[in-house]
Amino acid sequence: MALKVLTVDDSKTIRMIVKKAFQPFDCQIFEAENGVEGLSAASREKPDLIVLDITMPIMNGVEMLERLKGDGFLKNIPVIMLTAESGKDNVMRIVKMGIKDYVVKPFKGEQLIERATKLVTLAPKKAGDGSEEASKKYFTVDEEFQVLVLPEKITRQVAVEVENCLEANFEQLVRSGMNKVIVDMRQVKEISVSLIKLMMLIIKSCQKVNLRNRIVGTPTLCNELKEFKETSDIPVDASLEEAKAGF
């Protein structure tokens, strides 16, 4: 059964960051905008973990936590506090309140997951959750090469789809004895933050399982990639043939 995570934050942005952080895992995410909604969602869903902001209108995180701890049905749910305040007094105050851990903003999703794994077991998403379809959509096998074809526009949705099926595809590739990945970016029309992050993720994922990779792109894309610190040193081949010969 999927792990239930409740994120309580008045900022939609922070709730989205929390959701995205838990996306690779078999989790069901519930959202609430303040302490009142948070308590109601907690009673209704009985989550396995609550990620709770402190400063919120209507009912802040401190009051919500006090009420949680006073409720026999909810008091044992582990809570990670999110706070923009790292001062000693603030930290002491929230630690005394019986929270399991806290994360100081600014934070990265990875930090939150690192803390969460100390409190709950996060299992990777199961097959059949859409990753198989995404896999067929983006991955093809060409002789001894696995080719990942990126579409014209790399939106957040595309990046998430590729990300979700990346690990499984690469592991399967390793098991089958292949070790060459070509990322075909010739259709990509423009560079976006999502594209750069996805490229970095693909390269890191390849390195993790010792897969060799080459990037294919148009000359325009190649020039544009050189302007970004993260991608300036990445060699870009002009065609699949050039990439295959480059291994």
Binding site: D10, S11, K12, T13, I14, M16, I17, K20, T55, M56, P57, T83, A84, E85, S86, G87, K88, D89, N90, K105, P106, F107, K108, K153, I154, T155, R156, A159, S192, V193, S194, K197
Partner: protein, 162 residues
């Protein structure tokens, strides 16, 4: 005296550190503070996120960003393409969160320096023809940050509270 303790703080340094950390961690953007001699103002169509301090230190911190930069920031924080940022609400929320995080960092330093205070939830001002003035504040700092062709102005006004 609280005023002496406020003056003893390197507000400009604290802001620079906090702004750089928040931009880097949340947006993967490396901002640079403009040098002391450059003009420290940002006018025109912009969004201003602000938070207030109340307690032994009273004050206000605000971050001004142009609309284009605000959209770019929203896209970076939400990990999406700029053209996918469709709702103004998302842009406003991100600017508000930025002021909250920068203000939170400063509030922590005030508290650690023996000046306990509370931080408000962020508020947003959005418009073209307005000016934020410093009146009756003990200390005022204004720092311009650059990211590529974009600018962000961070201002803080503080004085001793009651």
């Amino acid at each position: 005296m609280v005023n002496d303790r406020i003056k003893a703080l390197d507000l400009e340094g604290l802001i620079s550190q906090s702004v750089s950390e928040v931009f880097d961690t949340m947006l993967s953007m490396q901002v640079e503070a403009a040098d002391r001699d450059s003009e420290r103002k940002l006018e025109g169509n912009r969004i201003v996120g602000s938070v207030s301090f109340a307690g032994e230190v009273m004050g206000n911190l605000c971050i001004h960003v142009g609309k284009d930069f605000a959209r770019l920031m929203a896209a970076a924080m939400l990990e999406m393409a700029v053209e996918d940022v469709e709702e103004e609400e998302e842009v406003i929320d991100v600017v508000g969160e930025m002021s909250n995080m920068i203000g939170g960092g400063l509030k922590s330093r005030f508290c650690d320096s023996g000046m306990p205070c509370e931080l408000s939830i962020p508020s947003i001002t959005d418009g073209n023809d307005f000016k934020v003035s410093a009146m009756n504040w003990e200390q005022h700092e204004s720092i311009l940050f650059r990211y590529q062709e974009h600018k962000a102005l961070v201002e803080i006004f503080v004085r001793a509270g009651n």
